[in-house]
Amino acid sequence: MAKRPQLAIDTRPWRDTANNKPFVRIRNVTKKFGDVSAVHEVSLDIYRSELFCLLGGSGSGKSTLLRMLAGFENPTSGTIEIDGQDMTEVPPYNRPVNMMFQSYALFPHMSVEQNIAYGLKRDGLPRAEIAARVAELLALVKLQDYGKRKPHQLSGGQRQRVALARALAKRPKLLLLDEPLGALDKKLREETQFELVKIQEQLGVTFIVVTHDQEEAMTLATRIGVMNQGEIAMIGEPTDIYEFPNSRFVANFIGSANMVEGVVTEDEPDHVRIRSTELGCDIYVGHGVDCAPDQLLWWAIRPEKMALSREKPEGLHGANVATGVVEEIAYLGDISVYQIVLESGKRLRVSQTNTVRGNPDAITWEEQVYVTWGIDAGSVLTV
């Protein structure tokens, strides 16, 4: 459901920063509440027609950053530029930006139509044009028959769509969405994600979405900015964030990861060997890493990047085979997640696809198994 790139070069402008001007430039923005930095020295470029997700836990500063873009908070230091225009001194009601609020913030005393028309009326558009635009937006969010209703007569999903229509009414250059799907149940959320991406593609508006739900971020985003304690931990496309995390925080925050400590024993340009007492074996990494011999570092691997077997496999370069006993199995239908206890007491989570129906030969509890992985399956992390 994520945006499908049509032409690699023009749909992914962040890959060619020399020839593309960012649409939103956030430069060294810090926001302090009293002595606490909610946002600390954040710099971020967002390009036109992107669907950018700010992902982070509560208190990570993602909402504060969004509120600064909308103009509800002023940065303590740093600048925010939208479409080449400095926004620092511009109040919220003069910004070319609209926001969809987490609580939807629909005006309870106005009908759906009046809610959507509110921003247009403030712009002083002629009555006929407002009516036409409102009808168009109601059609866009498939609420044609609900124009006369009051917000309290709508379901949660309908309110969400009214909020979206109202935020889009003024045809903003930039739409900010604060946890847009947070209040919906799982089924509705999945449908709405799809709708949201479709509307975004259709209108070509730049979206910045704040969410704490990594699945939502992965599905929606062209790029994700992972935030931690007021700072950007990593910016990248969903695959980069998942497959090539740049730090232990990102590896742990997105998806699940097995993390072990190790010491560099061989540091060559084409490979690295790491000794891990936790794994009880060496890790052979098939590419050079910026590190020094004897350096302590971390190695992270996703559960689905490992394989289980009863017979001892050959191993690669005398490494990448760990031995353990199956302690727990979580059967999830499509996959099963095995928890393996190694001799050191370290637990690994390994997931296996259930390709055979009702497999009688499946690895089961208390069995001794070998865990193996490829030379490029894990990420070496130095921070």
Partner: protein, 268 residues
């Protein structure tokens, strides 16, 4: 489970303790007899007599004017105080201000009345204003304590007001003043109406404070009734009291209904 008999009886006793005197007053206002305590037949003559009593009618008109004026002044001041208390969460002397705004709620009327009287006398001798005591001083006095009630009512309404509604309006292009009139005011309007009605009833009701700060020729309705009753209860006072109970009950009922009806609509 069988329903107990204790609760209904206790409730009946409780309610009769509260309302039996009022019910008897209403019934006896329709008494034909000149003696208040002797029932001799149904009649509306005391109501007729009431409307031919210029002193009563004048006092009633004065009381209504005072109530409307002081409720309006209290509405403005109380709303401002409530906004300050709810919106500016931290400012110097906030606790003191909050305490002082609600102090008139618990202050004995005698003290409020006496202190206001002293203030007015002192102001007259120093500033020459307000000249003498009369309607103006009563309005000021009533506005003072009604402000406290309005403030409490509006404060609770503003307390559960979703700030993002105002932010949404600004986000859609409404400057702060516009936002206040388009969004804030309509949403807190029920609290304003019930605050005003509350102030109106309290002012209409007040005897003690008004007695302290009124002057010659400015007797409010409760004062006139009180002085009449001191000479012996006359049946036309019963009639008047019935009318007042009716007005007050309607006012309270209206305020409650407005508050209740607006709840589900504005809280989503």
């Amino acid at each position: 489970m069988r329903k107990g008999w204790f609760l209904p009886i206790a409730a009946a006793l409780g309610f009769s303790f509260l309302y039996a005197p009022i019910v008897s007053l209403v019934i006896f206002s329709f008494n034909e007899n000149r003696l208040v305590t002797v029932w001799s037949g149904f009649s509306l003559k005391w109501y007729g007599e009431l409307f031919n009593d210029p002193q009563m009618l004048g006092a009633a008109w004065l009381s209504l004017q005072i109530a409307a004026l002081s409720a309006t002044i209290a509405l403005v001041l109380g709303t401002l105080a409530a906004v300050a208390l709810v919106r500016f969460r931290r400012f110097k002397g906030r606790t003191l201000f909050a305490g002082m705004v609600s102090a008139p709620l618990v202050m004995p009327d005698v003290i409020t009345g006496l202190s206001l009287l002293l203030l007015f006398v002192a102001m007259e001798s120093i500033l020459g204003w307000p000249q003498g005591r009369g309607m103006l001083t009563i309005v000021i006095a009533h506005a003072t304590f009604c402000t406290a009630y309005v403030c409490v009512v509006v404060q609770s309404r503003l307390g559960d007001f979703d700030r993002s509604l105002e932010e949404a309006a600004m986000d859609l292009g409404a400057p702060p003043v516009r936002t206040f009139f388009d969004i804030t005011l309509p949403i807190i309007a029920p609290a304003l109406v019930s605050g005003w009605l509350l102030g109106f009833t309290l002012s209409l009701d007040d005897l003690v404070i008004a007695s302290f700060v009124s002057g010659p020729g400015s007797s409010t309705l409760p004062m006139v009734i009180f002085s009449k009753v001191r000479l012996g209860v006359s049946p036309d006072v019963n009639a008047l009291a019935t009318i007042i109970i009716g007005i007050v009950a309607l006012g309270v009922l209206a305020a409650t209904i407005i508050q209740l009806r607006s709840k589900p609509r504005t809280q989503i």
